[in-house]
Symmetry: C2
Subunit: 183 residues, 2 copies
């Protein structure tokens, strides 16, 4: 019996649970998804999930990490694009996950781990945006508030779905903050 047999199985089983939970959290929402449904979709019983995750919130973090990692990979694979196009790409890519966004905002008040995850999420994207704004010549003092505004608008665009045309218009007026039209 090879020494890495068990660990590999464990990783695979964990991944199956995360995959099942992701689909259910995304489609039906966190509250409507019972541990029993997730377990059934992963081919185990509800209490087995607790061998892999401390509780339902830790499973949520597993889902968030997975979704975020995959999004980061695709985001990095994007070629050079103007800031507005990158933002629209991210909105298009993440709109399907709007229920996860709302759930994180509710549950970060209950779970320190989800609060940490949420803070790290904001740090990651605010850091990326800040360096972009610097490159675009935004003054030092404006970087922080502008970064906040842009992240806020992106998050809200996810949770308040609009048409592609409306999103384009939203991002256009938003970036006029950064790069005012030379009238």
């Amino acid at each position: 019996m090879p020494r890495n047999r068990a660990p590999v199985d464990r990783t695979e089983k964990r991944a199956e649970i995360v995959t099942a939970a992701t689909r259910l959290f995304v489609d039906d929402g966190y509250d409507n998804t019972t541990m029993g449904k997730i377990a059934a979709a992963a081919g185990v019983t509800a209490n087995t999930i607790y061998w892999y995750f401390r509780d339902k919130d830790q499973l949520l973090i597993g889902v968030l990490d997975d979704v975020h990692a995959q999004t980061l990979i695709r985001f990095t694979a994007l070629g050079e694009l103007p800031l507005g196009d990158r933002i629209l790409w991210a909105v298009r890519e993440l709109t399907g996950y709007h229920r996860l966004v709302d759930t994180v905002h509710v549950r970060k008040a209950q779970s320190p781990e989800i609060d940490d995850w949420h803070n790290a999420f904001h740090s990651t994207w605010e850091g990326w945006l800040a360096s972009n704004l610097t490159l675009l010549g935004v003054s030092e003092a404006d970087i922080e508030p502008m970064t906040r505004v842009i992240v806020f608008v992106i998050e809200s665009m996810l949770t308040h779905p609009n048409t592609e045309l409306e999103n384009r218009a939203t991002v256009d007026v938003l970036l006029r903050m950064v790069d005012p039209p030379t009238s």
Copy 2:
């Protein structure tokens, strides 16, 4: 026995339940607040609440209507102020209700009535903002997306608490969209 005795009592009892629910939803969150706790705080048993509200979501709507109505009254009582100051006032006033905001965003997917309430809320404030932007000379085509951006940022400011100084800076750069600095 006066004919309006019962209706008056009913209104008062309903108000007591709403008051109790408001405090608990705001302080502890919707999920952590059981019907039993609300009932105890209002001096009844849990099932009595169902005589006044169809279910927990309808009680949430009762709470939202109450909080929103009171906020509207205070908002109207505000004197003439620049747009930025009015926005900061609203943020200051509503920050304490950030858990309600997040809860509405999660539950509007489950309850058509809460979805309706949320849409009406956005309509009210986007309408008010749109007329303000028109007065400030914003072009017809920009009104709608700018209104969206401002409402999005206000909502996110509530759910991502910052210092008063940070909020001031956020609103300043935000309104540069509306009124670009004459450089």
